[in-house]
């Protein structure tokens, strides 16, 4: 029995082709479909539509008046030809493939991908170069932990500090902003070169960049809270940060930024939160600390994943630390004003005994930072002595 479809009064200028397409869907090339309907231009529409879609069309009347006789569509081969060599881009609900085909381009993982089209020029299309099994969970946690700078911080809380303490806070905020700006640019740059097949990594890096954007905002806002000018930015500090931006390799960039830099920053933010002289400073450092911990978790998990897949990679990472250390040997490291500001915050007053306690607290902080770095390096796979050695080579600028 020949297939038929009745379009009632619908023309192909109003969506009628969907019904024709649907009816053709069940047929094989060469099969015929009789189309009926009351739209006055139906045969004209069908003839034009069939021509464009590669279907045959037979008008029973086939005269210039164009009425009477059945309208018969012969299914063409084009649709089948278009999808003949199509392949799925991995499995939607399965783990990502070990290698992502550049020809999958921007297609969703698991989509049926038509052959042809431009290959994507992503630098990283091997799973081991970007992946960590914890990435999907971390992204979910990141999505659930977004906060609004306008409401998450009580900006109206009192911040009437002694002028020198306020100046110390402003100096630290100025320093934090430039560090967060580097930490924003790096994941943004990396994510643009990850094959979209590894979407959870892309999503996680996007949320990381968004986190840093908020940190830049809240630290700037705290720095400006009392209306004064911002603090200083040292040449050595900026040089140290900029050396992070030029790292071309995904894992090395992630290692330097997240494992060593942001890992160290987690200790710094915890210190600042503990010694915050006002509620706003306490709030902004607490919120940033929560986000940074997630960034560190991905950096550590990914670097460990890579090092486990290829233990010789530890040598590459070691070289990266040594290279950065050598490049920064002649720079001053941490801005003196920042160091002094940390001491003053921890001291809480200008009493010599308090300053001494503050000094001790900052040295204790540096010890905690070193210990944390060694622990993370050991987790990644470095022997303890090498972990200690590499931790000592980390930039004095913390990030």
């Amino acid at each position: 029995m020949r297939a038929t479809i009745d379009l009632d009064g619908l023309g192909l200028d109003g969506g009628g082709h969907l019904l024709v397409d649907r009816a053709l869907g069940g047929l094989r090339p060469g099969d015929e479909l009789t189309v009926t309907g009351r739209h006055p231009a139906l045969r004209l529409h069908l003839a034009a539509w069939c021509r464009e879609r590669g279907h045959g069309f037979r008008d029973g009347a086939d005269d210039s008046a164009g009425d009477g006789g059945p309208l018969v569509v012969t299914k063409g081969a084009a649709t089948g030809q278009r999808w003949r060599d199509a392949r799925r881009a991995g499995a939607a609900n399965g783990p990502p493939e070990a290698s992502a085909d550049p020809r999958w381009g921007l297609a969703a993982r698991g989509a049926l991908v038509e052959a042809g089209g431009p290959p994507i020029g992503a630098h990283w299309s091997e799973r081991d170069h970007v992946w960590a099994d914890i990435a999907p969970k971390l992204y979910a946690a990141a999505a659930a932990s977004q906060w609004d700078p306008a409401t998450a911080v009580d900006w109206s809380a009192p911040a009437a500090l002694p002028a020198e303490v306020e100046a110390a806070v402003v100096q630290i905020m100025t320093y934090l902003v430039e560090n967060e700006q580097a930490a924003l640019i790096i994941p943004a740059r990396l994510l643009s070169q990850v094959h979209p097949h590894y979407r959870e990594v892309m999503q996680l890096l996007a949320s990381q960049a968004a986190d840093e954007a908020r940190h830049v905002e809240v630290f700037t806002r705290r720095g400006m809270l009392t209306g004064g000018p911002l603090g200083t930015s040292s040449a050595g500090g900026r040089a140290s940060l900029q050396s992070l931006l030029s790292e071309p390799d995904f894992t090395t960039a992630s290692f330097l930024l997240s494992v060593l830099g942001e890992g160290t920053f987690v200790d710094l933010l915890r210190f600042l939160h503990r010694h915050a002289p006002d509620p706003v400073t306490a709030d902004v450092t607490r919120l940033a600390l929560r986000d940074e911990a997630r960034h560190v978790a991905f950096g550590v998990a990914h670097t460990a994943h890579t090092a486990r897949a290829d233990p010789s990679y530890l040598g590459v990472l070691r070289q990266a630390v040594e290279r950065r250390h050598a490049a920064l040997l002649d720079t001053a490291g941490l801005n003196t004003e920042v160091f002094d500001a940390l001491v003053l915050l921890a001291a809480g007053s200008w009493e010599p005994a308090a300053i001494e306690a503050g000094w001790q607290a900052v040295h204790q902080l540096q010890g905690q930072m070193d210990e944390g770095r060694r622990r993370r390096l050991a987790y990644i796979g470095f022997p303890d002595d090498e972990a200690a050695e590499l931790s000592a080579l980390h930039t004095r600028n913390f990030m």
């Binding site: 539509w49 464009e52 590669g54 030809q81 278009r82």
Partner: protein, 292 residues
């Protein structure tokens, strides 16, 4: 076997992508092939007949002129191929659904919007249809149907859809003084304009349609090497829509497959050209208001 130089008209930037792609594909199969682009069909046609190019990818109007110029010069043209989408097209004349006009004859004393002066599908053929209905369309005062022409992309023989789209829009111009009573277009653009929103679904009614006619055709000129032309034709006919390297090019060029050429579908346009005095019998341009 010597090489072939094909001429095509650059009616859109995609023409470069299409012919770059086809050139690479044809060369990959051993055909020494290159192409040049023209800014209008008239120069392409005179170059074809004069032997400055070997093959021309011609509009239907370019074919009409080429065949007249060739006959006058005593040279032979050889049809090579055409697209599946070049066969059996119709042009239509549409009015607003609520228009009192019920037939072509009802357009007497009214304004009809057309595409560019040299558009076969949106000007020459539909105006011929009006003449067949006993009307005398024209742009001056002596005519019983006023023609409002939208001269976009003159010289491109209607390949640029802009004039046709403007004619469709003129049906619904906000200012009644600018509003046309009818508009001319090709059948596929009736669907395209509905899809893109230029014409709201159900907003127009067809009051006349031409008999089916054929559109573009690829033509070899007197300078072309016969064996190379044969090879080009066979290669084009062998292009497979399933080939992912070709499919985007075929989609851009608007076909699923190349077909053997036929010359039976141009009589209507020959008649329309003569009625309008567009070209003379020797293929010289006679339309006074046509400057490609």
């Amino acid at each position: 076997m010597t090489g072939l130089l094909l001429g095509a008209v650059a009616y859109d930037p995609k023409v470069v992508t299409i012919w770059d792609g086809f050139r690479g594909w044809l060369r990959g199969r051993g055909l020494d092939f290159d192409y040049v682009l023209y800014s209008n069909y008239e120069r392409q046609v005179t170059d074809l007949v004069a032997g400055r190019i070997d093959v021309a990818w011609n509009s239907p109007l370019a074919w009409v002129r080429a065949s007249r110029l060739a006959a006058a010069a005593g040279v032979t043209l050889t049809p090579v191929t055409m697209r599946d989408t070049d066969c059996d097209l119709r042009s239509v004349v549409v009015v607003r659904t609520d228009s009192p006009v019920q037939s072509l004859a009802g357009l007497r004393g009214r304004t009809v919007a057309t595409g560019a002066v040299d558009s076969p599908q949106a000007t020459l053929l539909p105006l011929s249809l009006l003449r067949a209905a006993g009307l005398h369309p024209g742009t001056d005062g002596d005519n019983d149907v006023r023609v409002r022409r939208f001269d976009v992309g003159v010289g491109l023989h209607g390949d640029h859809v802009g004039g046709e789209r403007d004619a469709a829009r003129a049906l619904f111009a906000a200012d009644p003084a600018d509003r046309a009573d009818a508009a001319c277009m090709i059948d596929s653009n009736l669907l395209l304009f509905a899809r893109e929103g230029t014409l709201r679904s159900g907003s127009v009614r067809v009051v006349g349609q031409t008999p089916p006619y054929d559109h573009c055709t690829m033509t070899a000129g007197p300078a072309a090497d016969e064996a190379a032309v044969g090879r080009l034709g066979n290669l084009l006919l062998g292009m497979d829509y399933a080939d992912p390297s070709l499919r985007p090019l075929l989609d851009m060029e608007g076909l699923k497959e190349w077909r053997a050429p036929r010359l039976s579908g141009y009589a209507q346009l020959e008649r329309a050209v003569d009625e309008a005095g567009f070209y003379d019998a020797k293929g010289e341009i006679r339309a006074s208001d046509y400057r490609p």
